[in-house]
Amino acid sequence: MKVAFFPGCVSKGACPELFVSTQKIAGPLGLELFEMTEAPCTGAGVISEQNPDLADSLNGLTLAMAERQGADLMTICSTCQGVLSNHNYHLKKDAARRAKTNAVLAESGYEYKGTTTVKHLLWMLVEDIGLDKIKPLIKRRLTGLKVAPFYGCYILRPEESLGLKEKPERKTYLEQIIALLGATPVEYRGKTKCCGFPMVTMNRDAALTMGGNHIIEAREKGADLLVTPCPLCHLNLDAQQPDAARVMRTPIDVPIFHLPQLLGLAFGFSPEELRLNHHVVSTRKALDKVELKV
């Protein structure tokens, strides 16, 4: 299956383990990743809020590029997903916005037509590949592992632009995959809540406490690790975890996995291949549970 692969900025920057593990699992899943190397950053919502026209044009360009490739646009980041679907949704609906955007894109020889769909890897796994096709790829069942899903806001809200009104089941895909891989999904309130990343520069303590609370809640419910489809959430929950522990004055110590890493482990890749040895919060305890060493 050919996809216009939009890796986003963070998987090529501070979360290289996400990019690497995505590439690794693409093969078994039959995903042909055509990386959109010339597509700009989505702006993560920050640009959208400060200058809607600029964000329309930047994201319009990315969408037009995917359209030209003739493939669906695949994201591996909840934030990229949220921003790109939002702009795709509005540009499709609003002729005036579309005209404005195309006037800007004309200079670069691109035109947004509204013919592509933006889908996160998480959705593609269930909707385009199918859980039944993934099952035979599992070489190592993650039995005994208790995994808490952490979606990240932008893959859940706002519901209209993410197609959640038509497909509310998208709100359960992480649990479905966790269960498919043989692990036990952990139910906890924080799974759909915000990690705090958007306000970490504005109110650091509050932002870190936000994420910290969710991890601790999951841990108290028995989670061995959290899995998230968003590298920005990952940064706040993993890279900033020691800081959060300091602010909250309590140890946290829960590893955070990227979605492709969890799949990769189940498909038989080694922790090193998936760069699970390159997290800020050590993944060792979780890997011990499935008798893996890192």
Binding site: S57, M202, V280
Partner: protein
């Protein structure tokens, strides 16, 4: 048809008999009192609302159930509460659309102080409202004997917030309010927008300055909870974002939020993608030594884990397209 509704009950005068004591709430609400959950069965038609069930329980099964409600049609805003853990207005929430494992669970949200049963104390909500000076400070001179002349579009711009019925659902589920009780919150900030953008108000610059201060617009974590829970399509987040734009345009830029946006835009303009290395220091402000020092440990952790982005930040191929876009519609980021 028969419906099962589980009601979280609490009475400061004593524990309820019957029902199950629920678990403590997760942080940050670990101090919220635990509730006793009682199960009721009601017989109501297919399209019945959750409020219909509560009224039936109150009228025919247990008169001691305390529920605030008046209009039953999403106008008075009395009946906001947690339904299966998410704030909703129960008079327009169908029983059939909120079943989890065959039942609907309602309770007063732990984010608000509780009075009794499904009645919470709305004082925090109104205190935040008051803080944003939610009234018109008339632009002088006030036209004598006639109205201010304003475009209908200017009034329609405000009507989205005027539709707010002060139900509190947005605040009940606001993540930022959950960890920072001083955050003004979605409803108050949406109201703040309504007056800041009223062409008849004389204090716009002062308002924008105040709302940009800590606990104001920049403390919103942009998570869309308020937009999702609001029953009147007020979309408080959208109002907050517009308020941010207005504040920045008015020159109130000496805050991390503005610097963050500037740093983001700058990075994309130059290289087409985010430079994480410089984003944090730029957002915090180079002279903010304390904040810069605070973020050092994370940087060090990233380095140790081998996750530090390369010092030489490469541009994306074809970055000229991006620069052209900025030139055309970059606004203040040009």
């Amino acid at each position: 048809m028969e419906w099962t509704i589980v009601v979280g009950r609490y009475n400061p005068e004593g524990v309820y008999k019957g029902g199950e004591l629920g678990p403590p709430f997760p942080a940050p609400w670990s101090d919220a009192p635990r509730k006793t959950y009682q199960t009721f069965k009601v017989d109501l038609p297919e399209h019945a609302m959750i409020l219909d069930a509560l009224i039936q329980v109150r009228e025919y099964q247990d008169e001691s159930l305390a529920v605030r409600c008046a209009c039953r049609s999403a106008i008075c805003g009395s009946c906001a509460m947690w339904v299966n853990g998410h704030a909703r207005l129960v008079c327009t929430s169908r029983l059939g659309e909120h079943l989890v494992d065959g039942k609907v669970t309602v309770e007063s949200p732990p984010s608000m102080p509780i009075v009794r049963d499904l009645v919470c104390d709305m004082k925090p909500f109104w205190e935040k409202m008051r803080k944003v000076a939610p009234w018109l400070e008339n632009k002088q001179p006030i036209p004598q004997g006639e109205e201010y002349r304003v475009a209908n579009a200017a009034m329609e711009n405000l009507i989205q917030e005027v539709s707010c019925i002060a139900c509190g659902a947005c605040l009940m589920d606001c993540e930022s309010f959950a960890v920072n009780k001083n955050f003004l919150g979605p409803a108050a900030l949406a109201k703040a927008y309504r007056y800041a953008e009223d062409p008849r108000d004389a204090t716009r610059p002062d308002r924008l300055r105040r709302y940009s201060e800590p606990d104001g617009v920049w403390d919103c974590t942009h998570c869309f909870e308020c937009v999702t829970q609001c029953p009147k399509h007020v979309a408080p987040l959208d109002q907050i974002l517009k308020l941010r734009q207005a504040a920045v345009s008015a020159g109130f830029t000496n805050n991390a939020g503005t610097r963050h946006a500037d740093a983001f835009a700058d990075s994309i303009k130059h290289s087409g993608r985010l430079n994480e290395l410089t984003l944090m220091p730029k957002s915090l402000g180079f002279f903010n030594i304390k904040a810069q020092l605070q973020s050092l440990p994370s940087a060090f952790n990233l380095l140790r884990a081998g996750k530090l982005p390369p010092i030489i930040h490469k541009s994306i191929p074809g970055v000229t397209r991006v620069k052209a876009i900025f030139k055309k519609v970059g606004g203040r980021f040009k």
